[in-house]
């Protein structure tokens, strides 16, 4: 390979600034989307397990739609198609006057997509508690909401900490797709540095290292959380 290596571009004030701003946008997208994903994901996940058939059906539909359409397509749909479907005034507002349209669209798209995945984790967690405890709760005269509040949710939320960790890591990685709708997050900034300086390999290496650092930090925190949330006897760890 014939290539002029020059790592110093990464310490150039302008390009370092771009990388830092990219990291900030990556965090801003991932964390905001995570809040949406958690909120909706828990509601939908619980909804799928409820005895009420219509609610379970609506929640299942949500999961199947958002989980089965590729995230990239969803980003494009939210960004380019939705503003054309709503009334013209709102569409124009979405395209022009909405503050940070790329950011808002990316957060909504990523949040709703991840919500469908979290909903599945929540559902699995609730089902893992087992029918024994659920039946016991009902037999003791608990209402549906009491069964969830006092039995199912406290146990299942602690059970699903490990799979939620990987969802949390995934949302950071998926946030890079926001670059396709013009958000200058970490990947986009490294591509921009590559194009301005023609030092693509250095820029992408920097982005890779930063993503790995984010992932390792999140994993470390998650492990502490896992140890804390573990229910002795429920999930045996050897």
């Amino acid at each position: 390979m014939d290539y002029n290596w020059n790592w110093s571009v990464l310490w150039d004030e302008t390009y370092l600034g771009w990388l830092i701003s990219g990291v900030q946008w990556t965090f801003a997208v991932a964390l905001a989307a995570w809040v949406i994903a958690l909120t909706i994901g828990i509601i939908v996940g619980v909804g799928r397990t409820l005895p009420s058939k219509p609610i379970a059906f609506i929640c299942t539909t949500y999961v199947e739609i958002f989980r089965n359409v590729p995230l990239l397509v969803q980003m494009f749909l939210w960004y380019f198609v939705v503003p054309e479907l709503v009334p013209q005034d709102i569409g124009r507002w979405m395209k022009r006057d909405m503050p940070n349209p790329e950011y808002v669209t990316a957060v909504v798209a990523l949040g709703l997509y991840t919500a469908s995945r979290i909903a599945e984790q929540v559902r699995a967690g609730i089902q893992a508690v087992g029918t024994g405890l659920t039946s016991a709760a009902y037999a003791n005269g608990f209402s549906v909401s009491q069964t969830y509040r006092y039995v199912l949710l406290p146990i299942s939320f602690r059970l699903i900490v490990p799979p939620m960790t990987s969802e949390f890591l995934t949302i950071f990685k998926n946030s890079s797709l926001a670059l396709t709708i013009g958000l200058l997050e970490l990947t986009a900034q490294s591509q921009q540095i590559a194009e301005y300086t023609f030092q693509g390999f250095e820029a992408f290496t920097a982005a890779t290292v930063i993503y790995i650092c984010i992932a390792l930090t999140a994993t470390l925190i998650a492990q502490l959380l896992e140890r804390h949330a573990k229910i002795p006897g429920f999930v045996e760890k050897t």
Binding site: M1, D2, Y3, N4, F80, P83, E84, R92, K95, R96, P101, E102, L179, T180, G182, L184, A188, Q191, Q192, A194, E195, Y196, F198, G200, F201, F204
Partner: protein, 287 residues
């Protein structure tokens, strides 16, 4: 196979052509001679330089010129070549060239000295510059009118730098939407997300001709940059570069360039400028 070899030997014996044995080639030529495959990097929406036709096959002015080079390469290495197409965009083209994925880039790439630190260019095939594409009723006629407007710019292009510099010089407040490609820039303009898409003026004509309502759009403003296009090859590979240069010189010298030019630019109503014609003449080097 045997017959082919006999013919080759025969031809060599006649002294009409002297194909060199594969081991004598270096760099890209050696790679191509050994594998029988040449990889072309092409743009997907740079009308009329390199874009996809109805069958998703790359066509265009730059592609036609590249085919001339491929013919010359095939002649040099003495075998038929299989052509592999790899789509590239402004952000990937340099890296894919440097790491050896593509052997020849056929698109609409501006030859810049800073880029020559990583890649090499063949003779200039077109000369253009940055202009603005707007809706006819937008009231924008030059960069000075951009205050408060939204502009789509393809990330990593010379146009991005040119527009940003011009806007900064005039002290205007402009909202910039970074887009990936010309198609996305045009989509942003068509869906009214931005007021302006700025890129090389010739590409703007191409985008208008491909749009759903060509009458709604116009190209305005002065040239904001000087963009000579060149086909891109790998750096430090003068043997391959020479084949490319020779192929283009043949095309320029024989006047074949006029037919190729007309084929792609007449539909857009863009005649060759005296500057471009001069460039063709200067690069029509004698054998």
């Amino acid at each position: 196979m045997k017959l082919k070899r006999m013919i080759t030997i025969g031809v060599m014996g006649l002294g009409l052509a002297a194909p060199v044995a594969a081991e004598d080639f270096t760099g890209t030529l050696a790679k191509v001679a050994e594998s029988g495959v040449i990889t072309i990097g092409h743009r997907e929406s740079s009308v009329p330089f390199a874009y996809l036709d109805e069958n998703q096959k790359p066509i265009g002015y730059s592609i036609d010129l590249c085919m001339k080079i491929v013919d010359k390469v095939a002649e040099t290495v003495g075998k038929d070549l299989e052509i592999k197409y790899v789509p590239v965009n402004p952000k990937t083209r340099l890296a894919l060239m440097a790491n050896g994925t593509i052997d020849l880039e056929c698109g609409s790439t501006t030859n810049k000295l800073s880029r020559q630190q990583q890649v090499e260019y063949l003779a200039t095939t077109f000369v253009t510059g940055t202009k603005l594409l707007v809706r006819k009723d937008s009231g924008i006629s030059s960069v000075a009118d951009l205050g408060g407007k939204a502009v789509a710019l393809a990330q990593g292009t010379t146009n991005e730098l040119a527009v940003k510099a011009a806007v900064k010089e005039l002290g205007l407040d402009v909202k910039v939407l970074p887009v990936r490609d010309h198609a996305e820039g045009m989509l942003s303009l068509e869906t009214d997300r931005v007021d302006v898409y700025a890129t090389d003026h010739i590409l703007l004509f191409g985008l208008i001709s491909k749009s759903k309502n060509p009458d709604d759009f116009e190209v305005v403003g002065d040239f904001l940059s000087f963009d000579p296009y060149g086909l891109m090859v790998r750096r430090n590979d003068s043997a391959f570069e020479l084949v490319g240069k020779a192929a283009l010189a043949d095309v320029f010298r024989s006047g074949e360039i006029d037919a190729i030019y007309s084929k792609w630019f007449d539909p857009l109503g863009v005649p060759a400028t005296p500057l471009l014609k001069a460039s063709f003449t200067l690069n029509a080097l004698p054998e």
